[in-house]
Amino acid sequence: MSDEILRMESLQITAQAEHGGPGKKIVEDVDLILHRGEVLGLIGESGAGKSTIGLAALGYTRPGCRITGGRVLFEGMNLRDASPESRRRLRGRRIAYIAQSAAAAFNPAKTLYAQICEGPIRHGVMSLEQARIEAVQLFRELDLPSPENFGERYPHQVSGGQLQRAMAAMAMSCRPDILVLDEPTTALDVTTQIEVLAAIRKLIREHRTAGLYISHDLAVVAQVANRIMVLRQGRKVEEGRADQILLQPRQEYTRALVAIREAKVARPAASTTDSKPLLELTGVTASYAKLAHVVEGIDLSVRKGETVAVVGESGSGKSTLARVITGLLPREAGEILFRGRSLEPALASRSRDLLRRIQMIYQMPDVALNPRQRVQEIIGRPLAFYQGMESAKRKERVRELLQAIDLAPEFAHRFPGELSGGQKQRVCIARALAAEPDLLICDEVTSALDPLVAEGILELLGRLQRDLGYAYIFITHDIGTVRRIADRVAVMLKGQIVAEGPLAKVFAPPYHPYTQALLSSVPEMRTDWLDGVLAERGQLGEAAAM
């Protein structure tokens, strides 16, 4: 076809093995065609090879990786054989890249202008004067505030969402033919993600730029991409039009990805709701080192066998709330009752039995497990510490706990480095279970995991609650997760709870305005979701202006 701009033919990329030997193939036999003005979404979990393919479009591989087979053709020129000089001329000028973390991609010591205009000047496309005018134009197209002066700011002076858009401006500064977008909205809050997503989509549509949009979130990709390619372990699973992938997925794996947000996790019958609260917070206030209050006047109660979700964006104080309950950050005012008794503010003054009853599970299982301890030791320690169990009995109990989290007994002898992300999180759960707690605080336990793995963890937590009657405080920013597991919800904004109550009541009209903003920002599995939300908000904006 005449308007074809990028073509990959049976691409194979190999990661070199550490001591010679045959390397591991991280991309295998992938064919890809991109036309002018078309956006192709690359979907897959971590290790699927989607970023590697995205970089290969620039003729680049990460250190230690090599293109070992196939061709990457840009306008018929094979990037694999091209000289470093000719590749350098293409990069930034004809093919540009947007990374996940704008904060890490910008130089904090230079203004945005200096960094955005550098590309066009270096490539000799524009003069400084011209580049600045173009940059202002791009800022305007991206809906950045005061576009004339925006470029004079330094990266730390703008918000995360604005910085991500500034990076889009940087990538577009040379008017490239292809834009590679590597998870450009993943690090952002949902309400910010929607702005960035809309701005980027507008930009590439207006400039008729071809795009490779890489993401693990199918719902997000579906808003931007014309076609979607599903990848798994370096191989293509399925490819098709965006609506076809969402509505009629052909492969089992794709079907699982599409269905993921729909099923409700089985929950115990809410028969215990009339019992006395297990944990009750009234007017709890706390702050870090005399700064403004991070959490203020929090009222919250949790009953036995109940899941209370605490929802909010980053910086809303939801993790701080967990630190206050566990005593890592002593409260300054207010009262916390646990099993009808006042809870000591500071960790150090709580009894061992009290500590046992409240356990935490963390977001990053990688850093929540000591890399130098075997699973046996990690899970066994609470048994020895709280129950004084001796070695033989401990081994037996660890075996039972591993069984409870669906891991084979052999895992007891492994180090955390030998486990996958999902297995690590399971071990973290087993460690919390070993203490035989009443209350489990789950701090974003699924957000670092791939969707299907996260699914397994949610199922596990649901089953454990049914069998053993734990109470959960579930801290998350993911509304989809909340919908599926929570009995009651507390929505946090700037350190305060703005809405609280049973799930069905908080997530149904009449909404608190912030709850509504949060809810409408969650991407849905249909291609016209973003258009719908933008149209709705446009009307609201017009109505407000009148």
Partner: protein
């Protein structure tokens, strides 16, 4: 080349050979040395001969025998100093990192104050006031050296204590010592072992320079630094006597550093299971 699953370079092998040879000399000095370390056996600065392979020193003692006995005193004292300084540094450094707050502040500023004084001058003052006995020597250098170990342990410890697994241990109610020994120390071992090798070299060179100044290990006990000083005059007459103990110092320093380099290269790689 691989030994016990580890890649071993030629440099590392040479390093190990040097270190083992020195340890062998230190342990078996009384057995293998042809003469006693204080025996006067011939002329001052006699040239090497069949009886005296490395010649004689400034008083007519056998150079080879003194070198072997010197390995004994120098290495054992340097090792003792390094172990003591690490014991002090690890305990204080990790305490500062894990406890934080005013404990960290107090310890860190104290260490800053001690480090502000030039080490050699400080050691000279203490040794001239307290006199030069082996325990005083070991105590002084270990205390001064531990400031550097403290700095390292605190820096590494602070990085580790922010990890969630340390928070888990604290939430469980573990005592400070348990957190230090079981959660922090195992994860700090690679940089600490590397530092141990380097610190050993420094301790060993420090004793040599103190001995050279006359405040180190006292005669008639042989030590390499002292031997350089005793024979320094021979240089004026074109004798090679002071070069022999100097070479001994050099070869052990190089040997230990080769081993340390190898160890560093092992841990600069994979963060995986072996690291």
């Amino acid at each position: 080349m691989r030994i016990a699953g580890y890649r071993v370079s030629v440099g590392a092998l040479a390093g190990f050979a040097i270190v083992f040879a020195n340890l062998f000399a230190a342990v078996f000095a009384p057995v293998i040395a042809p003469y006693g370390q204080a025996d006067l056996v011939g002329d001052v600065w006699a040239a090497p001969s069949a009886q005296h392979w490395l010649g004689l020193d400034s008083l007519g003692r056998d150079m080879l025998s003194r070198l072997l006995f010197g390995a004994r005193t120098t290495i054992s004292i340097a090792l003792l100093i390094t172990i003591c300084s690490f014991a002090i540094g690890i305990v204080t450094g990790f305490t500062a990192a894990v406890a934080g707050g005013w404990i960290d502040m107090g310890l860190s500023r104290l260490v800053d104050a001690v480090m502000a004084i030039p080490t050699l001058i400080f050691a000279l003052i203490i040794l001239s006031v307290l006199g030069t006995s082996v325990p005083v020597l070991v105590g002084t250098i270990a205390a001064l050296d531990s400031t550097r170990v403290f700095r390292l342990c605190r820096a590494v410890g602070v990085d580790i204590t922010v990890m969630d697994y340390v928070e888990v241990a604290r939430l469980r109610g573990e005592k400070l010592w348990w957190v230090m020994l079981r959660e922090v120390l195992p994860n700090a071992l690679p940089p600490l072992i590397t530092e141990f090798g380097l610190r050993f070299c420094f301790a060993f060179l420090f004793i040599a320079s103190l001995s050279f100044l006359g405040l180190g290990i006292q005669p008639p006990l042989a030590d390499w630094g002292g031997m350089v000083r005793d024979n320094a005059q021979a240089i004026n007459f074109g004798g090679m006597a002071p070069l022999i103990p100097a070479a001994a110092i050099a070869q052990l320093t190089i040997g230990v550093n080769l081993v340390v380099d190898w160890f560093l290269s092992l841990h600069s790689r994979a963060h995986g299971e072996g690291a």
